[in-house]
């Protein structure tokens, strides 16, 4: 349905019919949309180290890692939804907050395993509801996840009363949040492990293969005998599980949890994914490049903070970057088609 991306009414073009390969075309736009993130992230880090006072300090780097970890975990998970050509999952905001509150709040009263169990059930519920609405009912993913965001946040605020939960000072959550390996917090290592696992799933398993194939061509994937509804549900479940882990990490970082703590995660995660070169048109993308996108967005935000630039302008800058990255991708596809 929403595949009406072409606005100008362009008459259909027939296939090229020369024998053998069509001529390979190198395009700067194509390169930028797919591989640009390597160069830009490297440049940004170099600029930050050389020109920005206070960036290259150990404390600052650790801080960047702390902030990047939960966003990064959400982003690598949500990469699955984006690659499967379902735009994004806006409800990660609600999912992360819910997981945080459950982890801290429920473990205070009912114990740690119960909290994790409940969080897992909630995450699966999110994934399945979003996935069924999009995969089976063919509803638009943006609208579906917009509504589940409000349902989820509504339930969370209602049940939690909007209050802040504090973990015990000596509990396992606190311990996890404080743990570091040299300058690198444990949460950043969690991000790396999850990235590695999801990279493996996306590139080396049948399920990941079907996600990419479905994103590239829904009709062809269905006609190969694939249960495409399951593929979509799977993509949303992966995203939900990642959002749950991100919620744990976020709660552990501050040893507190509140329903508003993940505001803006939808935005930051989408920025990282798109800047990482995953196409919003589906089919193309990589978890590893999303990780680079996370580093890019986190470093950029950190630089802006260090330069004393306010939250509003940060949002404008990153919003502009998203639109720019999507435009480059869209234009590159157009060049590629000609």
């Amino acid at each position: 349905m929403a595949d009406q991306t072409t606005t100008a009414a362009v008459p259909p073009r027939a296939a090229s019919d020369e024998p053998g390969l069509a001529k390979g075309r190198f395009s700067l736009l194509v390169w930028m949309s797919e591989r640009g993130v390597f160069l830009f992230t490297a440049l940004l880090v170099v600029v930050a180290v050389v020109f920005v006072n206070g960036f290259a300090s150990l404390a600052n780097i650790t801080d960047v890692f702390y902030r990047a970890a939960p966003i990064g975990i959400v982003a690598v998970g949500m990469t699955f939804v984006v690659i499967s050509a379902n735009y994004l999952d806006l409800s990660v905001v609600a999912q992360v907050a819910t997981a945080s509150v459950i982890l801290v709040g429920v473990s205070n009263t009912a114990g740690f395993p119960a909290a994790i169990g409940l969080a897992l059930v909630v995450a699966l519920l999110y994934g399945v509801v979003n996935g069924l609405a999009v995969g089976v009912f063919k509803a638009n993913a943006v609208i579906v996840t917009l509504s589940t965001t409000f349902i989820g946040l509504g339930i969370l605020r209602w049940l939690s009363g909007g209050s802040i939960f504090f973990g015990p000072e000596d509990g396992p959550i606190r311990a996890f949040g404080q743990a570091k390996l040299g300058p690198i917090p444990l949460s950043a290592l969690v991000l790396l492990v999850i990235t590695a696992v999801l990279w493996f799933v996306l590139t080396r398993t049948n399920f990941g293969f079907l996600i990419r194939s479905f994103g590239s061509n829904k009709a062809a994937t269905r006609l190969a005998g694939v249960n495409t509804a399951l593929v979509v549900v799977g993509a949303f479940v992966i995203t939900s599980l990642a959002a749950m882990l991100a919620g744990f990490v976020l709660a552990a970082f501050s040893n507190t949890a509140v329903s508003t703590m993940s505001d803006g995660y939808d935005f930051s995660a989408l920025a990282a994914i798109i800047i990482g070169g995953t196409s919003v048109f589906g089919g193309k993308g990589s978890v590893l490049r999303t990780l680079l996108g996370v580093i890019f967005v986190s470093v950029l935000t950190n630089i802006l903070v260090l330069l004393g630039i306010g939250f509003g302008l940060q949002q404008v800058a990153i919003g502009a970057l998203i639109v720019l990255a999507v435009s480059v991708d869209a234009l590159a596809r157009r060049v590629g088609k000609k």
């Binding site: 019919d17 024998p19 390969l21 398993t205 990419r212 194939s213 061509n217 009709a219």
Partner: protein, 504 residues
Amino acid sequence: MKPDMPLPVLEASSIVKRFGGAVAVDDVSIAVSAGEIHAVVGENGAGKSTLMRVLAGILTADQGTVKVGGELLEGGAKGSLEAGIALVHQELSLIPEMTVAENIMLGSTPTSYGFIRTRQLKAAAAEALDEIGVSVDLNESVARLSVALRQFVEIARAVARKPRVLILDEPTATLTPAETDHLLAMLQRLANRGMAIIYISHRIPEVFTICTTITVLRDGKVVDSTPLVETTPSAVIDKMVGRELSLDLSSRRVATPGALVLSARGIRAHNVNGVDLDVRSGEIIGLGGLVGAGRTELVRAIVGADPRYGGTVTLWVDGHPRNITSYQPAVRAGIGYVPEERRTDGLALTMSVSDNIALPNRRELSSAGVILAGKTARFASNLADAVGLRPPVITRDVGEYSGGNQQKVVIAKWLGRKPRFIVLDEPTRGVDVGAKAEIHRIVRELADNGAAVLVVSSDLPELLELSDVIHVVRDGRITGTLSAADANEKSVMSLASGENLVGA
């Protein structure tokens, strides 16, 4: 042009239109005068529709000029409309949510200060409907009309623009004989009043009822353009198919049909009105017919890719009958389907050859859900070699390959499943000659190895060369069955167009 003919209203000279490397319209010139009904005929894919889209300004010609009343045509679709060319499309282009009157006046709605002048709108629409002799409630939403009435509304839209040249592309495809007669009479009236009409049709009898001149296209070229009185239906069909004795039937296999593999009973679906079909092991069944006859809908309903309204499909799996109700189980039970549109339905163009071949075979190429990379690569490269992919680089994106190679990849992915029953819909459309021969070889090998094969093709020589039995489909029904020995281009065409020209 003959000296006694009046000055042409529309004159197209040396039109060339290419799509990628393929030449769809090759140096075509055509002239139509006021009061003339000019038939343009040709097989599927002869370039008729492309030519008409060029004349209507929807496509821009790569070479050549179009003149209307002596003036060069410019400004795309809008320019053509303003110059007085109106095209009635083959596929319906009405807006379902709008009323009949609004649809008729779409794009030329009368307004004052931007507001629609409803009374004038309805008057003009009523006039157009009157002109074509059809009465429809002007306020009715088009979504409620029958297909035939929609076709007339579409024609009314063209007529409402008071065009100098009216182009109709297969207007009778969805009409009953009575409706067709009505349409033909109406066109005659319009022509008598001085309108120039270009009439595209597969249906030769209609052409001979009303047209004054006929132009035959084949492979994008004009093969004949003559006053109708100087030719006969039989001669026209000969020129359309053109290859009278050129057909190489020496490559035909001797079919040795084995056990029944697939049997479809009473299939009804969108555009399919009750079809029975049996396919045996080792047999190639061809489905012939005109574009829009319902062949693609039929095969999609058989394999379960689209919903059926009625009927049953049974697949024999090692002697056990199995009901085929939906697509996924059909594929798992050993059905393969090469769809008509390889770019939109057949291939993930941004993925590699290897990935595309692996897609339906992923269960065999993985262990506990983890892809076996080495096995996949060997599997894909063996199949790429088997279908003659050139160059056989399985890591490249399929989108980088030419049409013929892409089609080989689509076939390769099903070959890997060793299908019991495989459907190939237009297997060689837009494919170069070399690849075509190879695809034919593959299809024969499939049958020789015991598969039951169903081929849909609008390419008559292909159909005749490949098939052991040809079923001809018209209006969603099988209207005739020809064995390999009896079939020729003329007999298939006659059955397809509904005119008995042969024997009888």
